[in-house]
Symmetry: C2
Subunit: 141 residues, 2 copies
């Protein structure tokens, strides 16, 4: 089943513009994470001219849902990734440092962390960041 970009955008209370559709399309066509500037380059191929701020703004807006996720690389630069199985519920990612491929991790230890934070520390969790970096099967050798 193909993903309905149109309604994905609407779900986020955003207007459906050609640029936003194109950004989703570009990200969805990659199995790897990409930088805002890379998205910008691909957008220029399609639209001739487009401002970099527009790309930044839209990536940020679209990353409010589960479809597009932000990846914080060890180099602390920002990347984005189209999450093809975002309907699989909450999960995290294994990120290949060589080929930039992203793979799903089923495991999320948040339940246990939550127990510890709410129980022992008496705090409340607002968000969490769990990302695992390494070499994928293909890049290992």
């Amino acid at each position: 089943m193909a993903i309905d970009f149109h309604s994905s955008i609407k779900t986020l209370n955003l207007k459906v513009t050609p640029k936003r559709l194109a950004i989703l399309d570009i990200l969805a066509s990659e199995m790897a994470y990409v930088s805002p500037e890379e998205v910008w380059r691909k957008m220029k191929e399609r639209f001739g001219k487009i401002g970099l701020p527009t790309v930044y703004r839209n990536l940020e807006d679209l990353a409010q849902g589960d479809l597009i996720i932000k990846i914080i690389h060890p180099d602390r630069k920002l990347y984005y990734y189209f999450c093809h199985n975002s309907e699989n519920g909450h999960h995290h990612h294994f990120i290949c440092l060589t080929c930039r491929k992203v793979e799903d991790l089923d495991f999320c230890g948040l339940e246990e962390i939550k127990k510890e934070v709410e129980g022992h520390l008496k705090g409340s969790i607002v968000s969490h960041l769990i990302q695992v970096y390494g070499l994928c099967r293909g890049c290992k050798q």
Copy 2:
């Protein structure tokens, strides 16, 4: 038992300079995470004049060990924190978004993640980032 900054620095194969000792001292005196620029301000109080690059370099160098840890805030700015119980072995942190306090989490799900990455995905882990953000006990109300 007080922490021996002198040998902490040596362990990292770094020279023991007044600036490095001061940075450790400044960070250790805080229960919260601080930005490079905040460290810089405090360093200027002590040394009159000191370059911001020196602070950046030293924070980065000192964060190679377990004593000083880097915190990636949701705002993607970089912060540093003196890890008072770094001898407790590998662990992660609960980070209060309001008062910047940092608390230890005993739990690290890495073992299970490792099983999944090495077993199912046939990849290898290079590093991982697990940080939990929220409101601490005091800031909750």
